[in-house]
Amino acid sequence: MMNTTMKIIKYELFDVLRNKWLIGYALFFLLATDTLFRFGGGGAKVVLSFMNIMLFVIPLVCLIFSLMYIYNAREFIELLLSQPIRRSTLFRGMYFGLSAPLALGYLFGVGVPFLLHDNGAHLASLIMLLLSGVLLTFVFTALAFQIAAWQVDRAKGFGAALLAWLVFAVLYDGAILIISFTFADYPLEKPMLVLTMLNPIDLARILILLKSDFAALMGYTGAVFQHFFGSELGVVLALTVLAGWAIAPFWLGARFFRKRDF
């Protein structure tokens, strides 16, 4: 069975790598990072400027690209399902076949300029940047798979994906702000920590921020966050939660996919 999964992954991998979208995606990161290095000055600044781009682009592209791919591959999926292949195997194969090249494209696009321009002084924040970018790729591809398995209708699927992106990227932070003002009289450092844990984009942002010098500016509040996210346990926990954010939608999607009537 593992063999079948590998076969599907292999097929998908080649199919996706042939796709112009993915090449464009990698090139985009390559150009963005390189330009930032050329015009933006030092490595620490590049990490922070790039963080904004990454947090914006990865979720959006992963959602839309994956959805598009799955909806377009509908006939192919039906063909494969007529063969003696388990649905979960197919789902798993497709997921890794799609998310792996996306992650690779990102690693390539960001890693190469860093190798060329940076002297290794910002290794910690670079690693955090790469790691959280890859994890975000897996998270939002999984989310796309869940949506695709749940919504047969293309328009509804894309609508749901855009809504999800809007919530995670923008609205959630607005909600946090409102909460922080509503409960301003209470010590909010710990609840805020938990709240940010519940949004993968926020989680990635804070992980990167706290690996850079910015942590220190945050005063007492920053000290609380730094104390948590700066410790090994905090980083491990945050990364685990981020991974959980990939696993949960994947699992849900797999369930939908198993029960779906084609």
Partner: protein, 446 residues
Amino acid sequence: MKKRIFKNFAIIVLLSQISIVCFAGELTVEPNGTISTIEQALTQAQPHDTIYVNKALYREGNIVIGLPVTLIGVDWPVIDGENAHEVLTVTADSVTIKGFTIRNAAISYIEENAAIKVKETLGCIIDGNRLLNNFFGVYMEQSEAATITNNEISSVAKREANSGNGIHLWYCKSITIRNNRISGHRDGIYFEFVEHSKISGNISEHNLRYGLHFMFSNHCRYTKNTFRSNGAGVAVMYTHNVEMVENIFAQNWGSASFGLLLKEITDSEIRRNLFWQNTLGVYTEGSNRLQVNDNVFAQNGWAVRVMANSMQNHFAGNQFLENSFDVATNSRQNFNTFEGNYWSAYRGYDLNRDGIGDVPFRPVRLFSLIVEKQSASLILLRSFFIDMLDLAEQMLPMLTPETLIDRKPMMKRAKWLAEVYRPEAMLGGEDQAKTFYDRNEAVAQH
């Protein structure tokens, strides 16, 4: 009146010089010689004698210098307080102490034991000593016209409660403190009720609390000092007529750390300083009529935080580079002026090409007000939502202080900036101070 006193003083100094030339004798302390201890030399010496102390380890308890003599260490003799005593206590005028290693002045919760304590004197000189692992380094009280130069003062303080200050001055006047290097004490330099003094070229770093701490010390001038990586940066309070020029305030990172904290400082000047990588560059509370000109604020968390009880302060020609927040305040009211600064966050245009942006710049971000009200929301730093809010507020200010505005923001960085501020060089371990002073020379030539 003042002039006459000075004249008299000058004559006295001149006369004393003559007396030194005419009558001063010389004594040499040598463990195997006729004079084997410093104590013994002091009992035999006449006023204005010179005592040479040869290289050895001297353990003589507390040595009181009660007559005007010059003590010169030859090849770094060591005077050890054995963690039990104060080491040198100077009670006479015109004492010079030079070339000694003085160590282990005892930590005490009752006495302020120092490596060198100077009490009620005039014209003492403490030059080129190494003061290591002492409770207090130099402790001076009710003294005048002293100089403290070229000393290396370091300790390994761990807790504020049982550590003393590097250079501690109390009720002093006309003191010169130059080219000292102070580290590992509670406060690097501490002033209380000190007037008309000059502090220049000192490096104060890695102290537990403040690099420089002064209160009630009017008419003092601080130039070309470096205050780096101190627990809480630099704090100055309750003082007027202070000049702080060409100092470096760097890397004071921490949850309660400032580059420069100004509390009730009035009629003072803060010019051509560098504030680099501090949690908070300059914090002003109840400070009025300050001229804050031509400083560089680079890569700080908050560059300037002006509390609403600070009035009539003028910020001009400053360079604000890559700070998370350029200016923060706690009120919609603003009684300070900002004009002709360079802001790296400025996005305006300049149609008539006179170098001044046509659109005024509002340095207070909406987010900084939000953080001021609810500090936990800082966790949203650099999120899109916040950036969008900031953008909207920039276009149509509703909440940020209306009058806190730079109507003449510069389009380009000042020409001198490239020479003044070279972060890569500083990060690369090049001598920060040297980089800074070189470029200040360059600035002076402009």
